[in-house]
Assembly symmetry: C2
Homo-oligomer: 397 residues x 2
Amino acid sequence: MENVTFPKGFQARGLSCGIKKNGKPDLGILISEPPAQVFSAFTQNAVKAAPVLYDRKVASEGGKVSHVLVNSGNANACTGSRGYDDVLAEVALVRQLGAPKGEVMVSSTGVIGEYLPMEKLKAGIARLFDAGSGAGESYAPFIHAIMTTDTFEKKAQRTLVLDGKEVRLGGVAKGAGMIRPNMATMLAYLTTDLGLDADYAGAFLGSVEKSFNSISVDGDMSTNDTALLLANGASGVRYTALSQPAREAFDEGLRGLMEELAKLIIRDGEGATKLVTIETLGARTVEDAKAVCRAIANSPLVKTAFFGGDANWGRVLAAAGYSGAELVPEKTSLEFCGVKVLEKGGRADYSEDVVAEKMKAKDVSVKVDLGLGKESWTYWTCDLSYDYVKINAAYRT
Amino acid sequence: MENVTFPKGFQARGLSCGIKKNGKPDLGILISEPPAQVFSAFTQNAVKAAPVLYDRKVASEGGKVSHVLVNSGNANACTGSRGYDDVLAEVALVRQLGAPKGEVMVSSTGVIGEYLPMEKLKAGIARLFDAGSGAGESYAPFIHAIMTTDTFEKKAQRTLVLDGKEVRLGGVAKGAGMIRPNMATMLAYLTTDLGLDADYAGAFLGSVEKSFNSISVDGDMSTNDTALLLANGASGVRYTALSQPAREAFDEGLRGLMEELAKLIIRDGEGATKLVTIETLGARTVEDAKAVCRAIANSPLVKTAFFGGDANWGRVLAAAGYSGAELVPEKTSLEFCGVKVLEKGGRADYSEDVVAEKMKAKDVSVKVDLGLGKESWTYWTCDLSYDYVKINAAYRT
């Protein structure tokens, strides 16, 4: 039992139902017994895929969730009412075959603008419940079923001891590899056997903001992005019964798990050769700190400079300057990989050779101190390489 | 007499004063006699180069301008009070040697974070006024003095006949080629011998918005961006004395000239292989139409798809979806190169082969109809190629 099934009361499996032409796993299911309180974050894109529209409705109704069905290879996005009807048909089949005690959620990732191959999907769902032709189905890991162009598995798990009791956390994610033709869809499924009430939603969204919403490969936002946390209480421990320090330990454990997965996504960013940590300090507001991080993370000029191993502080400063955040050049300081290169708007006394050497590392960092206030934010991105262009310029065919 | 000196009463010249290591022209001057009413637009970046700070002050004081000094090879940005003092020293020397009848403005483009080599500059300014060592100085074109990594000259001119009288317009621009290390600095100098009053500023800014502010190579914004229009009235014709149709003809002529220069900048975008025209129609507000254009123009996923000649409507729709503009997928239609691919949110009946063939052209287009209102906007961008990465990943050294 690992990642999503590491906490008690979770099962998961995958298989290939033929959506992907290469025969790799493309359909999976995550099951919680007992049904779990669900916490969700979806794409903010005005163009939302059918499963996102459906899941938002389920989430808003507040029922507990027992099954999450995920397919890769087809995003069921820009498919209109037929796409939504297909989701309803998937859910109906899961209800019929899986006899869920809670609600069913659905995610899709892959090609957009094409209808789901429902016959293949239906046969696949039947096999997921071992109701297909052959007995003794041999399943693939759930994590494989959600992958598209990901080059490695993104998974994490941890055990927390809270007020002396063991609680487990697990998670998997996919992205921002893209399938042709394609989005940087991010899917993340987190599980815990701690019991959480619906009012934990604010804390969950806060951790999403500090992890999955604080990463960027290319600044594009998909129609299908989804992060779900299922908390089924199977450990017998409830959050509300914990001491304040234990609650904080859980909050931090969950946030840390999500950060771990978010960074794995960036490490596997298309064409990425470096993980770049961007830290903004001294901002007047948190929103300003985020805006500076985002502008730097999404600047193609900054990202190509990182690819070239160039501590190009002019590009970083310019990106901070157009971020919309309050910024006074004479108060702004910059560090690359721990070396101060700009001190209150003026070039610091540093060795280009020393910085250039540090910039050759796989993990590099840039720190911006706005010198205006006490707020800060951290963001992760990757560099922009030849391979990014190569991967994304390819024909869909 | 061509481009900026095509209208009456303008002189311009350039030379190499040694800022650029390759010996190419790096200093130029544009002179208006009589002094001209000046209209200006500067970078919105919070980090503004010293000459921009100085020029903004001159512009706000409303005096007429007779000299514009421009250097390339060094942006005089992030240089603090010493950088500003250097601008004052340049202006003082132009005043001393050029005996200007109006104000002096200054622009710089090139490396940021380094001080101007003032000895070289001062000697260069002296030579610009033929006060240097040798008599009979042989000057280079002004347009060459403002170029950095531009691979061709960006210039335009036109003659308008307004109420039967001849009026001339001219202009040059540089960018978005970048010098190492570097910004996508855009400089544009426009001249006319029509007489314009200060209250033409709104119309000028409107035309800037529709031209230089409606182009994007990579979405980055420089510390030095500057567009100036000098109107010296040397034609003897005044805007205020023109008929309404003649005024409109001038407005349109100026806007058209600026659009022509703006498109040349995009054609010379780093690594650009295609000019992409993005048109958004049917928006509820102009701001929405612009936001959709901008999101599409700045999406690396869209830009790499154009490089690959791929009519990837999913990426375009997704970018429109996260632009912040009001958008209803079921009302949105899309065309690539005149072929409708998405009709009110659903895939249109079209041939991939036909579109793929059209996408091979140097000039391609995408049209988004939001189907919600009557507002529209047009934007120009280029594709994102291997060469963009190559040019920008290079070390500064």
